[in-house]
Symmetry: C2
Subunit: 224 residues, 2 copies
DNA sequence: AATATACTTTTTATTGAAAATCTATTTTCT
DNA sequence: AGAAAATAGATTTTCAATAAAAAGTATATT
């Protein structure tokens, strides 16, 4: 095995979290996780410590770890920030990006467009989720700022968690494929203002969709 | 003891790191740290894991932990990002902030202005460093966005590390006290554009000062 | 019936030592 | 001499046992 156990445990746990395998505020019992991943509690603890620093997990001293909570307020705040950062990245990438970057964007879009959005059970397919994340990452990549990309990654991770919560709603009511295509086209055409405006609208729509899903879920819970 | 051992260890280690107690790229030996803080390797490991997620420490699997490197390129990138985020926070804070916030800004400035900048050995005094950090934090506080503040904190932490590297240079050549006072005045007067422009200049000057110090240090190393 | 108290169980926190891995040095061979 | 291999030493990683704390449960008390 190349990487260490703690490293792989961290990655696996993070992936599970982003895939929505655990519900928000659910308690993450160290020994259970250890059993599930078949590593010692030490490794789990270390992974959880890192996830805590990322904000994906909250730690209460002497009281263990929980999945970070979600809320509509946080989603809105997160999206505001994402719009700031993603558009800033996009502007800089369009200004700085070379042909290699352009090619990567086109490639990532092609893969995204060719990947079926829905899995058998009606939720987002994992392949689509991956391709979608990669496409957005590809757009930002040439921004030339390590710090911007780092913050972008952090925000994306948190957004992915929300995306997953909304994975059974509203799909198809919006033409996400078209939004992505237009975003790609404007970017490759180096039409900065158009690309930024599409991106802003795209992120806003995503927020609205998730918000609706969260409200629907809350209403369901209310009427249990 | 109120908090847990891992928690306090994390905080202590982080403070040491921000205070520049360990040099960039210095190896952080787990057992040594354990002896220094008199806790077990597990606690150290957990603290280091969190610091790794924050980017203050780098982890090489099977090869331990090191203090994150510094570079002029990173400083520039960091400062660019800081200017983006700090000004965005400031704009929003000036728009949203209530009297309580205004009061906190004035108070933080008063403390900063009244704290001697230099310690006996000529470096920044810890009290000044603290007051300085608090003043800048106070300015941003009312921005109304948790995410923005979170990112701001992250960037500030990294900046503090750089500040410390420059702590023996150039102090006095610039009138930081005046910059701070003008920043406070423009903010309290709700003069957004003026405050933003002072902030931008302030962060830029800080970067230049640190850059000069880094170059000087590199030259010294060259000619060892 | 509601609250308080003592007891039990579960879970977290912490430790130190064993196992695995790396680094530097020495030795061997071409 | 220079490269490859072996060895020894140091360090990291992992683990499982112990201690401490919190949560839960049942019993007693007001």
């Amino acid at each position: 095995m190349s990487a260490s156990a703690t490293q792989t445990t961290y990655e696996r746990l993070r992936a599970s979290l982003l895939a929505g395998l655990y519900r928000p505020e659910e308690k993450l019992k160290i020994s259970e996780l250890g059993a599930a991943f078949s590593v010692s509690t030490g490794a789990i603890r270390e992974a959880l410590a890192r996830l805590t620093a990322e904000g994906l997990v909250t730690a209460l001293p002497q009281r263990g770890f929980r999945v970070a909570p979600v809320s509509i307020a946080d989603l809105r705040d997160l999206t505001d920030m994402r719009i700031e950062v993603e558009t800033k990245c996009l502007r800089r990438a369009i200004a700085n990006g070379d042909l290699g970057w352009e090619t990567a964007v086109v490639a990532a879009h092609h893969r995204l467009a060719a990947t079926p959005i829905a899995a058998d059970d009606g939720s987002f397919s994992p392949a689509w989720t991956l391709a979608h994340g990669d496409f957005h990452a590809a757009l930002a990549q040439a921004c030339g700022s390590t710090w911007m990309l780092r913050v972008r990654d952090l925000l994306s991770a948190h957004n992915e968690r929300y995306l997953d919560l909304a994975r059974k709603t509203d799909r198809g009511k919006r033409d996400a494929a078209r939004e992505h295509r237009e975003l790609m086209e404007a970017t490759v055409a180096r039409d900065t203002e158009r690309a930024v405006s599409i991106m802003t609208a795209h992120l806003g729509k995503t927020r609205d969709t998730i918000e609706a899903a969260l409200l629907a879920a809350a209403a369901m819970n209310e009427a249990r």
